[in-house]
């Protein structure tokens, strides 16, 4: 089981907080701040978990979600959506594993991902 987690979030502060939460959950974290870079990295690595913001510059988060779900290599990757748009979040219910609506608390994310890491 890989310890790798991608935090795909364009807001640097939120990326820092989310990364810290995932680090606290014992993940090896890579923070990615734009969609294009995220697309590239997803083709290379096979993270255990992707924390995905839906509003991203470059490639929209929903496209990245489709990309992950279409990639057999990433079949076991857990996708946690992090969005401020509840409506958009709901639309991903079928393909995402978890949907978190911003504001997302550090402890909430840490506790959730810690649980996911241990399974």
């Amino acid at each position: 089981m890989s310890d790798l987690a991608y935090v795909v979030e364009d807001d640097e502060d939120l990326a820092t907080i989310f990364s810290e939460a995932l680090l606290a959950a014992n993940y090896q974290v890579e923070a990615i701040t734009n969609g294009l870079e995220a697309r590239q990295r997803l083709q290379e690595g096979a993270p255990h978990l992707v924390l995905l913001d839906l509003h991203l510059p470059g490639v929209p988060g929903t496209d990245l979600l489709t990309q992950i779900r279409a990639d057999e290599r990433l079949a076991k990757t857990i996708v946690v959506i992090a969005t401020a748009d509840a409506r958009l979040g709901e639309a991903c219910r079928e393909s995402a594993d978890y949907i978190l609506i911003k504001p997302i608390s550090y402890t909430q994310l840490r506790d959730l991902t810690a649980r996911l890491h241990s399974t």
């Binding site: 807001d11 502060d13 504001p103 550090y106």
Partner: protein, 561 residues
Amino acid sequence: MLNRIIQVQSPNPDDARRRRLLNILLIGIFVSAIIGLLITGYGVFTELWGLSEIFLRTVACLVFIIGVSIIYVINKRSGKIAIYLFILLLITAYIISDTPYQISDGRSVFYFSIPIVIASLLIHPLASFALAAIGCMIITWAASTISQIPDFIVMIGFFMLALVSWLTLSSLEQALKRLREINANLDRLVAERTKALAESLARERIEAGRSIAILESIADGVIVFDLHGKAIVANPATTQLLSLPRDQIINSSIDDLIHSRTLDNKNRSVLGDLLTNPSQQPASYRVQWGTKTFSVSSAQVFDTEKTRIGRVAVFRDFTHEAEIEKVKDTILATVSHELRTPLNAILGYVEMLKEAVYGPINAKQARASERIISNTRRLLSIVSDLLDQAQIEAGKMIIQVQPFKTAELLDNVHNLMIKAANEKGLTLTSESAPGFPETLYGDSARLQQVLLNLVGNAIKFTVRGSVHIRLSCPDEKHWAMEVRDSGMGIPETELARIFEPFKQVDDSITRKQAGFGLGLSIVKQLVSLMDGDIAVNSKMGVGSVFTVTLPIVQTGGIQHE
């Protein structure tokens, strides 16, 4: 011509009538005298009469011609004098033309009957008696000159004639007076009616003029269609708003108007529906007409007898407002994102400080971090509430109906609120009634928002005890979410007001509990958008129960926009 000769000007109608009659008699006598002269002339040629006879006849005719002419002239000025002179002329003529014998015997009954009737006719109905008396005196005088006893039968005949004359003419005068009164009344009535009609016409003209002036000067476009849907009125603003010449609007049909090339299919159907809407209630829609946005309202027009006579459509230029609305929407969306993101960052960093991610902190620092966290959460909830309220007011809140797991709803709410409950030492429990559906249709995000709000309130206002969530079906067509607490309760007088925006039970409690009075108002509005109802039951010191009842929906889709 004859009428002009007879006519006399007098303000008194009786006087005029008498003088007119006198003129007729005068003309009659004048013509008779002329004929008498002609006959006398004939007698001269045929030597029918002797010379003295011819002389007397000629003088008599001339006297009458001159006499009636003078009286005619006097009658033009004074009726009274003319009438007396005329009667005097008649009496004198009789006295002169007859011998005392003739006067005192039966002939005079015939002769004097004429002035008696004429006096009654021309002076006064009662004057007949005066003339009868004069007649009596004359025949008494005539009889005395020939030493005879006057004929009393003749005298009685005079008075009988005077009596008949008086009765006839007084009733005739009465009838004439009545007739004049009736005529006067009629004239007055006609005058009044004419005046009223003229006034009402003038008023209508003024009102119609005023309506037209208003119609011509307002900025809204007004088109009136007749029963066949043909435009019969269009004010100048219409021309300007629709960018169509007035004569192209007038006489065109509703169909022509909605098939204008400036409308796209969607707006065409909206305008078509609006202008053919058979409802009696006025309706109003927004229509995009080229680059302009109109608020179009339409209503049927009825006359005073409540008969439908057509339809009126009012076009208001809404372009500017629509632009402002669009800007407002953009600002709302931006503010929503721009406010939440930094608040989320504050929340995250403080949590990390408190969780000692960046190194150990002392008890006071931990306490301060907690305060920052709780205040940031409060601020976030205010921002969310304000944005929700703004969305609801703008009619932008969309209820998206999809299948959802009822257990998941309960779990989510329980997981999100258990910490807050535990921190206050409260127990938070939840259950579904036996047989409650596992899956329902609804907007799970909004349902969760409603339930979170109710549970959040319950925790906020409960000092000790429990908060319990229960899902059940009160009947076959409805399901319910119930939140029961053992809190302080809500006074009965306040129950009805708690769902109003910015209302809280007690200001002092509000400050202590750090609430913001939008939550329950939003809950109620969301529940209404989902075609549901919210009710509250509360007992002071015992607790409150909030129950949201919703229809069991069978299919998905967008329920409300």
